[in-house]
Each structure stands twice: as structure tokens, then as C-alpha cells.
């Protein structure tokens, strides 16, 4: 039983850290609160879908920015979509870079756009790793016979 408590504490600490470091915001909390016995995998499914969509968008953006003649409207539409989905998940650091990205897009500043693409890729990989770790911890708690201490 001791290890369950330990794992739960680890999970709580890790989650707290993700909020403190600004990886997640209250929207993520809201989603966790929507999860119950009838849909125990809602957040994992949602985030998995977000990963798939974001990877497609990031690949599109990389291609868009390599074109000899840059279509800023297309880039803006892609960034806009990423901003919308990241804010709906509560992945706020990705969302924040998207805001800067759109401003560079409006200015038609190619270097700014390239810089933001790099930043958004970095933030995306970081939060992806963090969320995967979080879900793994949740699985460990469940496997040890504990329950997930949400909402915190």
C-alpha cells in the first residue's frame, strides 16, 4: 500500500510541476474534471488526437516555410488551428508561441516565422514528453491498485 501512496504523491507532484512551469493551464484541469467512470480515457484519447493533429500541422508548416513563394495566409490558417486546439487542451506554452507566430505572419517576417516554428516544435515536443510521463505515472498508480487523485 505504501508504494501506491508514494506513486500517487509522485503523480500529484509531477502534475503540480507541470502547472507551475506553465506547461498546462486551468483548461487541462477542466478536462480532467469531465473525465469519470463512464469515460475513463477521455483525456488520454483527446491528447493523443491532439498529438496526431499537431504533428500534421507542424509538418505542413515546415513545408509552407520552405516554399520559394511563401503563402502567409496558409501559414496563418495552420497556426490559427494549432492555437485553437492547444488552448482547448490547456497546453498554454504552445498556444503562446502561436500568438507570436501569427504576428510574424501578419508582418510577413520570414525569419520570425522560422524562429517561431522552431520554438513551437520545441514546446510541442517538451509538452508531449511531459504528458506521456504524466499518463505513465497514472497507469502506474492504477496498476498498483490506487485511484487517480483528480480533480486536485
Amino acid at each position: 500500500m505504501d508504494s501506491v501512496v508514494q506513486l500517487q504523491r509522485q503523480l500529484v507532484d509531477y502534475t503540480g510541476q507541470l502547472f507551475n512551469e506553465g506547461f498546462l493551464d486551468d483548461q487541462f484541469n477542466q478536462l480532467q474534471q469531465l473525465q469519470d467512470e463512464s469515460n475513463p480515457d477521455f483525456v488520454v484519447e483527446l491528447v493523443t488526437l491532439f498529438f496526431e493533429d499537431s504533428e500534421k500541422l507542424l509538418n505542413e508548416l515546415a513545408k509552407d516555410l520552405e516554399q520559394p513563394s511563401i503563402d502567409y495566409r496558409k501559414i496563418d490558417a495552420h497556426v490559427h488551428q494549432l492555437k485553437g486546439s492547444s488552448s482547448s487542451i490547456g497546453v498554454q506554452r504552445v498556444q503562446k508561441v502561436c500568438i507570436a507566430f501569427r504576428n510574424y505572419c501578419e508582418e510577413r517576417n520570414i525569419e520570425g516565422c522560422q524562429k517561431c516554428l522552431q520554438q513551437v516544435k520545441n514546446e510541442y515536443s517538451l509538452v508531449k514528453t511531459k504528458l506521456e510521463t504524466l499518463f505513465k505515472l497514472e497507469q502506474q498508480v492504477l496498476a498498483a491498485g490506487g485511484s487517480i487523485p483528480w480533480p486536485m
Partner: protein
Amino acid sequence: MAGEEENNNCGENSFSVLVVDNDTVIRMVHRMLMTSLGLKVQEAKNGKEVVDLYINGASFDLILMDMEMPIMNGPAATRELRAMGVKSIIIGVTSHTSESIHKDFIEAGLNHCVAKPITIAKIDSFLPKSNNN
């Protein structure tokens, strides 16, 4: 116009919501939010699908309408629905925070416009529960 949804005592279950967004992640979040309130939810991926649903006789109490979508965007769909005489509550949902963009969308015929991410609190007054008092 609001007459129908005021007799909510016969249950929130009959209150139907159409979630409109081209982004699957957002549709999933909005569906979940509405389902958690016990509301009946259907989805559409763009404005054209919404117009087609109404043409085919479907009707919803509330439409959560995204702004930027391929094929037909939110403002265009809202205008078309209003021109068809559709009286459903339509709430525009957009990632834009600019007042003037919200205003343009509202002028297309919305009841209300909110910035993403949508929360229950933001649209509370349009949901059946809050009519109780």
C-alpha cells in the same frame, strides 16, 4: 424566441446541441462539455454541413459555431441559417480575441460570441440549467 427552452422542467435531456468545428480535438472537447451537462450532442465539420442538416429537417436548440472553417465559415453559415428563418440559439466560438472580429461575427446573426477555449461559465446563460431561477 426563447419560449421553447424556458419549459426546461421537462428535462435537460431534450435540449439538443450542435457542435460545429473543423478541428476534431475541439469538437471532442465541446462534445464532452455538453454531454457532461446531460445535453444531446451532434457534430458538424463546417458551415455547409449545418445548413444541409437544417435543409434536411434537423433542428437544434443551440449551435456552437466555429468561425474559421473550410468550405463554409461560421459567419456565412450563420447568415444563411438566419435567412432560412432558423431561430436556434447560435453562439460563435473563435480563437480571435479582437472585439471587431467578434462584432462582425455577431452581426451575421449570432446570439453571443465567445473566445476559445469555451467553458460552461462563458455560455451558462444560454444553457437550460441556468434558466431555473
